[in-house]
């Protein structure tokens, strides 16, 4: 296929109307396609699950929900068909969709999973799923085991991996669970025990039972990674079906070599495999994608974006192209996840108040989001709706396609956030290792190794540490490898 340039399709599946753009090699929009909001499914919020008690409302969600996978898959088919020229050559489609992760608070859609923690004799004081609401735990919880293994902070083993106990656990899971979640102490420092356990589980349970490991999530504690992996596993069957449906539609229109990616909550791409195994990474994807698109359309990597959709306006920021860190982690009904919150102010249409009052809410939201970003410009994205836009906000060209454009031009990224000891090295050595790990992660996620940018390394203090060590956090980002530009067969 050498000689033809890569065509990139960005697809935004809502909330609101579904839109897509076709973007050429020069980053210009070649074509657009919009489908009205589907009243039957995708963009209509489902009835929320009945809250189990007044103190436990269902998770707030900024995502439209659907349980019928044929709806989003059909939208992708119609949008891609509406954009692609005949004989398109190499094609990449990037889909921004709420995915199944928005159904988190609803026990009815969660599969039963086995939960394996590797870390005994440590950590047994807090068993897996502690603190989960009963209905959520009852829906999800299959066999649970805490087995020997895991690592200390210095990388040595807490105990040898207890393969016998893992085998027994696997046999308890057989025929009883749709997926298994595996989390090891310090698994984010060394995934070895998680990977060995996953292989043992796979050998017993077979390929039709996904085994979700927790080590891709960094920067938090074991419980947060474990909680996230359990919910990932409980949604993995559904997420796998969704990504497979997208891939089938794309392949039928653009050929089997067409590349498919999904968007994550940081405004970067995920491979379909990663999205299927870790659907919680999709949380917040639509608004993050809009912000990434608005930043590229306006040329300002640091900005406040007014994302206007059918269900109101979401105000959020980007700082140097990245979603700003809020310092807090998402909780779903009291279950803390290894996914960070995003400071987003949602101004909903409100017929009870006047336009002036709504505008005041928007201005207050801009102030709140912008406070972290200095004198960031304010850009509008999406189609003007019932919530008024302040006249001082910039409206970049193609603003109505910002979300789809954000998907079409999305980059790959990886973040490293972990503890580095420098007792036997130096801080500079830790920084070098962190930068390299972030860079490698971005390349594994699809970034072109020649064009990866490594961000500033943030050093975070640790308290009550009797030895020199430091927590470092750094993100690397880069455009995806362009298969048509390499001159090699893909």
């Amino acid at each position: 296929m050498s000689g033809t340039r890569l065509l990139r399709i960005g697809i935004d599946l809502g909330p609101g109307a579904a839109t897509a753009v076709l973007v050429g090699a020069d980053d210009r929009i070649l074509a657009r396609c919009t489908l009205p909001a589907d009243p039957a499914g995708l963009t209509e919020p489902r009835d929320p699950p009945a809250p189990p008690g007044p103190s436990d409302p269902p998770a707030p969600t900024d995502l439209a929900g659907t349980t019928d996978l044929t709806v989003p898959a059909g939208l992708v088919r119609r949008l891609v068909a509406g954009l692609l020229p005949p004989d398109p050559g190499p094609v990449r489609a990037v889909v921004s969709c709420p995915g199944p992760a928005d159904l988190l608070g609803d026990p009815a859609v969660l599969d039963r999973v086995g939960v394996l923690r590797i870390g005994a004799p440590a950590t047994t004081g807090v068993p897996p799923l502690t603190g989960w609401p009963d209905d959520l735990a009852d829906a999800v919880c299959g066999p649970v085991a805490v087995v020997g293994g895991g690592y200390l902070h210095d990388g040595s083993e807490i105990a040898p991996l207890d393969t016998g106990a893992i085998g027994a656990f696997a046999r308890r899971c057989a025929g009883r669970v749709a997926a298994v979640a595996v989390a090891a102490v310090s698994g984010h420092l060394d995934p070895g025990h998680e990977q060995r356990a996953a292989a043992l589980l796979g050998a017993v349970l077979g390929p039709q039972v996904p085994v979700v490991t927790a080590h891709p999530y960094g920067g938090v504690g074991l419980l947060e990674r474990e909680n996230t992996a359990v919910l990932d596993a409980a949604l993995a069957r559904r997420a796998g079906a969704l990504t497979a449906a997208f891939a089938d539609e794309l392949a039928s229109l653009a050929g089997p070599d067409a590349e498919l990616f999904l968007m994550d909550g940081g405004g970067h791409v995920l491979s379909p495999d990663v999205a299927a195994a870790h659907p919680l990474l999709l949380l917040g994807a639509p608004h993050a994608t809009t912000r990434a698109g608005a930043a590229r359309l306006s040329g300002s990597p640091t900005l406040v974006v007014l994302d206007t959709r059918a269900d109101g306006m979401r105000i959020g920021g980007l700082d140097g192209g990245l979603v700003p860190d809020t310092g807090t982690f998402r909780e779903v009904r009291g279950v803390r996840l290894a996914v960070r919150t995003d400071r987003v102010v949602h101004v909903r249409p409100d017929a009870a108040v006047g336009r002036a009052a709504l505008l005041e809410r928007v201005r207050a939201g801009i102030l709140r989001v912008g406070a972290a970003l200095g004198d960031a410009p304010v850009a509008v994205a999406g189609t003007p709706g019932a919530v008024p836009v302040p006249p001082e906000a910039e409206r970049p060209a193609e603003a109505e396609s910002a979300a789809a454009y954000g998907a079409a031009t999305a980059e790959a990224s990886a973040t490293v956030d972990r503890l580095f000891r420098f007792a036997d090295g130096s801080l500079a050595e830790g920084v070098r290792l962190a930068r390299r790990a972030a860079r490698d992660g971005a390349v594994r996620a699809g970034a072109d190794p020649r064009r990866v940018r490594v961000g500033a390394v943030r050093e975070m203090a640790m308290t009550y540490v009797p030895m020199p060590c430091v927590r470092l956090r750094v993100t690397a980002t880069g455009p995806l490898v362009d298969p048509s530009a390499t001159g090699e067969a893909w």
Partner: protein, 367 residues
Amino acid sequence: MRWTTGDWRTEGWITDEDVDDVVGGAVVLGSGGGGDPYLPRQMLRAALRRHGPVPLVDAADLPPESLVLPVLSAGTPSVLVEMFHGEHESARLRALFETIADGTCSAVLPVQLGAVNAIAPIVTAAQLGLPCVDADAMRRCLPMIEATLLTLAGLTASPVVVVDSRGTSAVLSADDAGTVSRLLRSAMPHMGLVALISAYRLTAEECARLAPRGGLTECVRIGRALRSAAVGDPGPLLAETGGRLLFSGVVRELVHRTTDGFPRGVVSIESDPPYDRRGARMLRVDFQNENLVASCDGVVMVTVPDVIDLIDRDTGAVLQTVDVVVGQQVHVVALPVDERWHRPEGYALAGPRAFGLDVDPVRVGAP
């Protein structure tokens, strides 16, 4: 009910209903340190679910010659959230402590009030089937094991008993507190930076005389006040504790220095508009484990031993200072502590100069 009531009179119980409040209040007394509350909440939930409610007692109601078991988690919080305690450390800690201290424990005593260390003693009590004394030795969180009101009363921290989840244990004893602290620091890396420890040998009678009462129930009251507040409103907390709102603004800069093993840092917070004619004001919080000094445009407003907290205005969460990020919008509040810390010997142990900061102590509400 498995609790026998022959040996003590119960002042109250820590039940599943109290989990959020006791942890929430303990975070406040952590003064920006002491660990994030999520894990302690789950530690307490799991222990209460397995072992039932924990009775709180007054040490004066315990057999006077029996020992109390002071309990601390000596873990590094950022490592503890990764490798938290197992179930068997508490029994081994008690057995070793009773052997070394030559006595029998009738109850567990909290030493320090921070999120992790207000909870670890309650969890230990649940696991051991003992009551927990509603008292403690600091009335806040301080990083040195000798920085207690028990030390001010003439007790020594030795012997210190240390156990980890893998069966390693140590007994540390020395004439001076500095040596014991150094021994403990050198032992911790060999225990994976997480251990359950006990220090101070004291009888129930001494405990009743020397340890200020009501620490855990105060945590519950503070936590309840926090929970009653609208998100980000510090009013109920300040009313409950007699504290003051020092400042509201946006975090502009974080400086961490971790090269010598004593993490030190500075958080700089810019005041909200509207500004007066001098422009924005800047509040600086110096911290080392906990928040130590709050100063505004060069004027010291409050120092340790009083408590200084940062509250996230978006979520209402009382923050661990090491987890603060640039751009976070915060209130800075200060709360008074036990009067005994405000005597010269209290300042010598836990005033700003004890942390190497050459400023005079300033109390909450000082003119």
